[in-house]
């Protein structure tokens, strides 16, 4: 378990929900639209305070993990309100305790801006997904547009102290981890994105060949 990251998010959990009022209203409909695509056994990574549970369709069987026990403590109340079943577990995405091919869908919301070793984390998700399984991501990334990209690079050393990196290239990381990109959509400029990718159906044999 990455204790440094855990402590950072334990501290952030105290103010985390302050920022949900506007984001829920402005970005919530996009998250809801993305998560209508969930199916089968679902893993939600970095559930945080559980603020995004309400965007999942009702009646799902969900396992939600987070590295921070304080986040999970806050998420428990929202998990109880969800009209389905949510099991909360403390876990580091880079060291998942699930066996191979356990899930049909992995869902993330602003997760891989914060995972210290994103490709390792994505490889773990690749491992626990069944062949043909999908990863649905709502993430902010580094802009490819010069002035925005520079701004995000300049702000990252500061933002990293209290929260996420602002300049991750998550689309490329997803592909580096072995996923096949199915869909990419810009939600705000080219910074907030919906990323949908799949683990190829023939992935079992190819697993060992990936980096």
């Amino acid at each position: 378990m990455d204790i440094k990251t855990q402590r950072k998010w334990d501290a952030a959990s105290r103010t985390f929900d302050l920022f949900t009022f506007a984001d829920d209203r402005r970005l919530g409909p996009h998250k809801r639209r993305l998560f209508t695509k969930v199916k089968g056994a679902i893993l939600v990574v970095a559930a945080g305070t559980g603020n995004d549970f309400k965007f999942f369709p009702p009646g799902q069987e969900i396992v939600a993990i987070d590295i921070s026990p304080e986040m999970l403590q806050r998420a428990a109340k929202k998990a109880r309100l969800y009209p389905g079943n949510i099991e909360l577990r403390q876990m580091d995405v880079s060291e998942l305790e699930f066996s191979d091919h356990s899930f049909d869908t992995v869902a993330t919301v602003c997760t891989f801006c914060s995972v210290p070793r994103p490709i390792v984390g994505l490889r773990e998700l690749y491992r626990v997904l069944k062949p043909g399984g999908q990863i649905l991501m709502f993430e902010h990334v580094r802009s490819n547009i010069g002035p925005f990209g520079i701004l995000l690079d300049l702000m990252t050393p500061l933002s990293r102290l209290v929260g996420p990196d602002l300049n991750r290239n998550t689309v490329a990381n997803v592909q580096k981890a072995g996923f096949r990109l199915r869909r990419e959509e810009n939600v705000y400029l080219d910074i907030i994105k919906i990323i949908e990718a799949v683990k190829p159906s023939s992935a079992t044999k190819a697993d060992s060949e990936l980096p």
Binding site: L18, F19, F21, A22, D23, R25, R26, L27, H140, P147, F148, L151, L154, M155, L158, R180, L181, R182, R183, E184, E185, N186, V187, Y188, L189, D190, I191, I192, K193
Partner: protein, 147 residues
Amino acid sequence: MALETGHFLRTAILFTKRWEESMPFTLGDLLAGMLVGVLTALGVRVAVWPGMDMVLAMLLGSAIGMVIHFVLGLILAPLLGMFETMIPASMIGMYGGMFFGMRDSMAAGSRTTRAAALVGVVLGLVVVLALKLYDRILRGTVVDAGN
């Protein structure tokens, strides 16, 4: 004909509902942009004097703008959204601060504080509107490989 009218009415209602939902945020974005613009313009006016080395003035202006954007961003983000606040504010703060620094070191226009503040408002407004337009252009599917 009745079907077409029904469809038109449904579309009009949906459009009105969306407009009502997004209007407060749009106004908030514009006000936030103007506020960052004014504070950056005034902050730079206080710190930069005519005749100051232009390069130093631009660097200082940019730094002042970044600090102002960061503080205001933290205050306004819970009300307007993290990225919708941070991106325009940082553009206005960092690049606007640089422009204001250049102008004030050369004493090139906006001689009164009020005029400097007004230019700050205009810059903030233009940046927010330009970003909204650019967002409209960029928004949507980039890759769709199907199933």
